[in-house]
């Protein structure tokens, strides 16, 4: 069901944990739906110098969190903002259709964390683009 890459990032997740005094935090998901993703960022000079996560969820959710934090580490905020759910899924060599929403969660968590930082800095939060895959997630967990 899962690609080897997913299994690798699930079995040996990178960047698990919290960051003390993070620059920004983004939490998305809902325990009722079976997944919560929390991403912690440490930002210096508009660049993500550290990213960590804590996730409650399925294998794909954990792997997506791991991959997403890997992808954004070292990136500028503008670059990190552009890391899409598709990019996460592709870096994982694909996700099963019913699990695509996990990559969406990862993208959303990054955005939330970045905006958390921006708001703390007194900046305007950036605006979310609309995900066409987003509807899917809501369909899947209609609780």
């Amino acid at each position: 069901m899962y690609s080897e890459k997913v299994m690798d990032h699930f079995s040996n997740p990178r960047n698990v944990g919290e960051i003390d005094a993070p620059s920004g935090v983004g939490e998305v998901g809902n325990p009722v739906c079976g997944d919560i993703m929390k991403i912690f960022l440490k930002i210096e000079d508009n660049r993500i110098v550290d990213a960590k996560f804590k996730t409650f969820g399925c294998g794909a959710a954990i792997a997506s969190s791991s991959m997403a934090t890997e992808l954004i580490r070292g990136k500028t905020l503008e670059e990190a903002w552009e890391v899409s759910n598709k990019a996460v899924a592709e870096a994982l060599e694909g996700l099963p259709p019913v699990k695509m929403h996990c990559s969406v969660l990862a993208e959303e968590a990054i955005h939330k964390a970045i905006n958390d930082y921006r708001v703390q800095q007194g900046l305007e939060p950036w605006e979310e683009k609309n995900h066409h895959t987003h509807g899917h997630e809501e369909e899947s967990c209609g609780v």
Binding site: S11, V16, P31, V32, F56, I62, H101
Partner: protein
């Protein structure tokens, strides 16, 4: 036993925090074994069952409906299997009809009775914890003019026969309550529910797919009019099952076509599978006294072990009125699939909710029906043991699951390591 005892008795591998700091392939961390604890999903065909089946694939392949010798051999084999199935549940051979499995038996029983009732706007009583083969069939009938009462269950998953009685109306055409639940293992008060049905002259169907071959079943003593069973749940082949139909029960044909099964279920008989079903049900039923006692003991040890070593855990289903092989436990703050994957990586096959719902994101309707909040329902595991399970298998799970749960909890934003377990989940 209380969460306070957590960590006592059984060694727990190094804590998750440690692992996160130095990632290592979990798989290579221990000697890998193969432990199958998902017998409620399906079982291997036992060697003597396969052996009985083999000739019917290649040499004795005749179509039982034909007249020549080759065909008569097949007919004989089918009728012998019918006798074995009948004997296993206390029925007569004429009341056994072979199907393609539990799902078809359930579909046939429910749709067949609904349609045969002749009552427009008929009413069906069932429970809220039935297998989807029953629930989705009932929902389908609701879209087609029938009304359905889905009875609630108590915290252990028990249907109250008084609720059945209260739900009966003069339009009720069928009562269908499962014999034993596939997820939490709870055994329903079938005899009492059957008595209510009989009092009102309503046919009573029970989905006994998880019960037959595992606990003694008797259609007469338990007031059952229709009963579904499926071969692959007791070491018989997949794709074959039976519907018991008490003589005189009004039921329509579901599969239309040739004159097989006394013109009630069309389709060329699946002779090898039917032979396998007969053999498997005979062996499984004969072994019930010995196996169920042995398996129940292992189950209880597994349940006690898990509850005592893993804090924030609880048993789902009834502590005593449960299938010999079923252990269903919820672990707070973690999600089921990730536990399954880690178990799989050390060679343990188990399930979360039921095999049919895994892969979907909805938590199990059974766990919700017994009152579990969604987040706890997501964190439940089902281990289903069989006569092939060994004490060593149980030890292995008890040794490794605490570490797995801990590892995932360390990753979980919901888990606060210092959190004290407030409720005491005694078994």
């Amino acid at each position: 036993m209380c969460g306070a005892e957590a960590g006592m008795g059984i060694a727990i591998p190094a804590s998750g925090q440690d692992m996160m700091d130095k990632p290592a392939r979990w798989e290579v961390m221990q000697e890998k074994r193969t432990i199958y604890m998902d017998n409620a999903a399906t079982t291997p065909v036992h060697p003597e069952v396969l052996e009985a089946m083999l000739p019917y694939f290649t040499e004795r392949y005749g179509n039982p409906s034909s007249v020549y010798s080759l065909a008569r051999e097949s007919r004989k084999a089918v009728e012998e299997a019918r006798e074995k199935v009948a004997k296993a549940i206390g029925a007569t051979p004429g009341e056994i009809f072979f199907t393609s499995g539990g799902t078809e038996s359930d579909n046939w029983a429910i749709k067949g009775c609904a349609w045969a009732s002749g009552k427009k706007g008929g009413h069906i009583i069932t429970s809220s914890i039935e297998h989807h083969a029953v629930l989705h069939t009932c929902q389908y009938l609701e879209k087609n003019g029938f009304s359905v009462t889905y009875l609630p269950v108590d915290e252990y998953g028990l249907v109250n026969p008084a609720d059945v009685e209260a739900a009966v109306t003069d339009r009720t055409v069928l009562i269908s309550v499962m014999y034993a639940n596939n997820e939490i293992g709870t055994m329903e008060p079938v005899r009492e529910i059957g008595a209510v049905a009989r009092d009102h002259g309503i046919p009573f169907h029970t989905d006994a797919v998880q019960a037959v071959g595992h606990v003694p079943v008797d259609v007469n003593q338990e007031n059952i009019d229709l009963l579904s069973l499926s071969g692959h749940k007791f070491n018989g082949p997949k794709g074959v099952g039976a519907l018991y139909i008490r003589k005189g029960t009004r039921i329509g044909t579901y599969e239309h076509g040739g004159g097989q099964e006394k013109r009630r279920r069309a389709g060329t008989e699946n002779v090898p599978a039917i032979v396998g079903l007969g053999k498997a049900v005979e062996s499984a039923t004969a072994e019930i006294p010995e196996v169920s006692a042995r398996v129940s003991r292992m189950r209880d040890r597994l349940i006690r072990g898990l509850l005592s070593t893993i804090p924030h855990s609880r048993l789902n289903g009834h502590p005593e009125k449960r299938l010999p092989g079923n252990a269903n436990v919820s672990f707070e703050f973690v999600e089921g699939e990730s536990m399954l994957l880690l178990l799989d990586s050390i060679g343990v096959s188990a399930s979360t909710g039921s095999a049919c719902t895994s892969g979907s994101l909805e938590p199990s309707h059974v766990l919700l029906a017994i009152g579990l909040p969604h987040e706890k329902a997501h964190g439940s595991l089902r281990f289903t043991l069989s006569g092939d399970t060994t004490g060593g298998d149980v030890d292995y799970v008890l040794l490794h699951l605490p570490g797995i749960v801990d590892r995932l909890r360390q990753m979980s934003p919901l888990y606060k390591p210092d959190e004290k377990e407030v409720k005491c989940n005694v078994q």
